[in-house]
């Protein structure tokens, strides 16, 4: 008796808890919350979507803006031009010693001895004013060891060793010299030397003819300099220009047209995710409608409708999508309609199978007995009960669609410039893989991370909504 009473009491409490009410959805939600991989992936996706929606507005540059002086610059955490300058390369080798300012004088072309290989001939000599502790000969050695410098020497040292001057041959032009040369060539003047102190650059130029009075504008036109002012010598044959150095931050580097890859990757994510979602909605609506009708009516209707699906299934669909896009022009709308039209077949099959099972339930029979119309039963009873299966399937369709879109973009059948998608960026990146690997790395990371996360969320949802399938 005691045994039975404990048993029934336990049964009672269990019933009592059940009476508190835990709907199927609540139950599924609890199971999903326990799945850390799925929850982390979902959080990642939310962050990614926020970044793609609001990121381009916050990002330092517009995704269409082209920086002619910054084409294909590598990803960097420090802003340009500092990141690509000789001073930055030297600062690393100098350690604690600080560069107060530096000057650069190009080597006249005829000064290079003939027969020197171009890689070994210096482009000019850099002079640095240093301050800090422990300035000694070893600094010159570590500078000479750098690949872009040679022949470094400490020319002056203060007695206390807290300041000094170091000079070195520069073997490769840096980003400042490059854009300066470009600007000055347009102005038809020659560079004598330039000096950089903080954010200010002073440039001395000379010319065989009179210097163009608009010389400051020529310099300011470069992406690197602004607020340029010029002082032309009385004889008009030389001038001194001073300008502010503009720093630009390219966290992901820039593409072949000098556009910020960070902004482009985020904008591309917008397009890829939008196409993924919209195409899945197209597939969802078509698939649920078709599958539910076929399954609910059954018999000859079902057979006919499913035969059509079978036939469509054996079409080489990717070719039709390619045909559609090639022939009717590339547009975002056509893209997701075409992709959605491919993906609805699976959905229709799954929904039909589920409907066949659902329509045998008593509540459907009860609704029929109450005289509810077919449309009403489908809307009120069949479709809501399909949702679990469908939600799971949609999370697996979205990555497929994103992949398909990238695939089409890769064949240059994607969205038009200047708009972009991950597929377009990846295709650009794979063409520049050798010189600029970051162009492939960042879009691929975003795409793959998204696909991973979506798959985890999908698997998690399936486990949560359909525990018997585990």
């Amino acid at each position: 008796m005691a045994f039975w009473s404990t048993f029934s009491r336990r049964e009672d409490t269990r019933l009592g808890r059940a009476a508190a009410g835990r709907s199927l959805w609540k139950d599924a939600w609890a199971r999903l919350r326990a799945n850390y991989a799925a929850m982390a992936s979902a959080a990642f996706l939310v962050l990614l979507i926020l970044a793609c929606v609001f990121g381009p507005a916050v990002a330092p540059h517009d995704y269409r803006q082209q920086f002619q002086d910054y084409t294909k610059v590598p990803a960097s955490l420090t802003p340009y031009p500092e990141a690509g300058s000789e001073a930055a390369a030297l600062a690393e080798a100098l350690g604690d010693v600080e560069i107060v300012d530096y000057g650069f004088a190009p080597l006249a072309e005829d000064a290079v001895p003939e027969g020197t290989p171009p890689t070994e001939s210096p482009v000019g000599r850099i002079t640095l004013h240093l301050s800090g502790s422990g300035i000694d000969r070893s600094l010159a050695e570590s500078v000479s060891a750098l690949p872009r410098f040679a022949d470094a020497a400490l020319t002056e040292t203060a007695a206390d060793g807290r300041s000094g001057t170091l000079t070195a041959d520069v073997l490769e032009p840096d980003i400042i010299l490059d854009s300066l040369n470009r600007a000055l060539r347009r102005a038809r003047v020659d560079l004598v030397n330039y000096a950089v102190a903080g954010d200010r650059i002073t440039i001395d130029v000379a010319s065989a003819r009179t210097v163009d009075p608009r010389i400051a504008e020529f310099v300011a036109r470069s992406d690197l300099f602004e607020n340029a002012t010029s002082m032309i010598a009385p004889d008009g044959m030389s001038a001194a220009i001073s300008a502010d150095i503009v720093s630009e931050l390219f966290l992901f580097g820039t593409d072949t047209n000098g556009r910020d890859l960070l902004a482009r990757t985020l904008v591309a994510g917008r397009i890829s995710l939008t196409i993924g979602l919209l195409a899945s909605v197209v597939a969802l609506v078509l698939g649920i409608g078709y599958g539910a009708v076929a399954g609910y009516f059954g018999g000859r209707t079902d057979m006919l409708m499913m035969r059509v699906v079978d036939i469509l299934y054996s079409l080489p669909f990717i070719f039709f999508v390619i045909l559609l896009i090639v022939f009717f022009g590339r547009s975002v709308v056509l893209m997701f309609v075409a992709v959605g039209a491919v993906e609805w077949l699976d959905m229709a099959r799954i929904v039909r199978g589920q409907t066949l099972a659902i329509k045998r339930h008593e509540y459907v029979e009860a609704a029929q007995a109450l005289g509810v119309g077919t449309g009403g039963i489908l809307r009120r009873h069949v479709v809501p009960n399909l949702l679990g299966t469908v939600v799971v399937y949609v999370t697996l369709v979205v990555p497929k669609v994103i992949l398909l879109e990238s695939f089409l973009s890769f064949l240059s059948l994607g969205v038009n410039e200047p708009l972009t998608s991950w597929g377009v960026l990846i295709s650009e990146g794979s063409r520049n893989l050798q010189g600029a690997p970051w162009l492939l790395v960042f879009p691929t990371l975003f795409l793959v991370a998204t696909l991973f996360a979506l798959n985890f969320v999908g698997d998690g949802l399936r486990d949560a909504l359909d525990p018997k399938d585990r």
């Binding site: 050798q434 492939l440 795409l447």
Partner: protein, 307 residues
């Protein structure tokens, strides 16, 4: 069995007919034609060319003529690759595509099944996690990323294999395309096999076989794998379609002269006959392959009867 094959073929023919019709009319609704250029041709010249190719006839007449030619096995002349018929192009292109596809399929089935079985036997151990992790990566990284990276690392940096071309079909030229094609399929098949194998290893008849003291190899290969391989077999149909899709990208990147590459060029150049030819050939291939897969299914699982 024979009746089943006949019935399937009877369904395949109207399917093929529908495919041909859809693609024929879809192509003709599109703006532009195979002879439209940025600098338009002289109208008389254009009219003469179009007459020569019967392009000035009423559309329906062209359609009937195409169907008639198709029945006789004539795919027509290519409009973009002048002086070549579509058959000529396929004679060179098809062997390349089929070789790549067949090798990729073979490798993915063998490697995928082996990896899947190993993962299942060592479930929740390091080997298992390694296989699952690699498979997840193989599935999510698209082939158009894998291909350029492979060609850079193995082709350029290590300089072991050529980065593109066909080289009269020397094996060195096929390794990278086949690897790229096979990678995602290996991953999917390994995952499928692992799932069904775990289930099979837990089933009653396998436990019985073990209880009888049968050697592990026979338990795994004969008693478990035979049932566990069914999902893999039914995946072969979609896998073949995936290889066709993948080969478009792979042939483009590795500049393999196959039909996938022709297709994109043909569609862009409005090469009506070549596009139609490719669609027909691939549709026939997929229909046949699906039939073979279904028959294979019955062969492995005697419970399935097609009568």
């Amino acid at each position: 069995m024979a009746r089943y094959i006949l019935r399937r073929l009877a369904i395949a023919i109207p399917t093929l007919f529908i495919i041909v019709s859809i693609s024929f009319f879809l192509m003709r609704v599109a703006p532009g034609g195979p002879f439209s250029r940025e600098r338009p041709l002289d109208p008389t010249v254009l009219a003469n060319i179009e007459r020569a190719y019967h392009l000035s006839d009423p559309l329906f007449l062209q359609y009937l003529r195409y169907l008639g030619n198709l029945l006789r096995g004539d795919l027509g002349p290519s409009f973009v690759f002048r002086d070549f018929t579509v058959q000529d192009l396929f004679r060179t292109g098809l062997p390349a595509s089929i070789q790549l596809g067949a090798w990729a399929l073979l490798i993915s089935v063998v490697l995928g099944v082996v990896l899947g079985v190993i993962a299942a036997l060592y479930q929740n151990r390091t080997v298992d996690y390694a296989v699952i992790g690699t498979a997840a990566i193989g599935i999510t990284i698209p082939s158009f990323v894998v291909a350029p990276v492979l060609s850079l690392v193995i082709g350029v940096w290590l300089d072991w294999l050529p980065t593109g071309g066909w080289g009269q079909g020397a094996w060195q030229y096929k390794v990278l395309p086949i690897a790229t094609l096979a990678l995602p399929q290996v991953a999917i098949i390994a995952r499928l096999t692992r799932g069904s194998m775990i289930e099979a290893l837990r089933s009653n008849h396998v436990r019985t076989a073990r209880a009888y003291g049968l050697p592990t190899r026979s338990v795994v290969v004969v008693h478990s794998l035979r049932g566990a391989i069914l999902p893999v077999v039914s995946y072969l149909g979609p896998a073949a379609a995936g290889l066709v899709t993948g080969s478009v990208v792979v042939e483009e990147i590795f500049t393999v002269p196959g039909i996938g590459r022709y297709f994109v060029q043909a569609a862009l150049g409005r090469d009506y006959t070549l596009v139609m030819g490719t669609v027909v050939v691939i549709a026939v291939f997929i229909l046949l392959f699906n039939l073979v897969v279904d028959l294979l299914y019955a062969l492995i699982d005697p419970r399935i009867r097609y009568d």
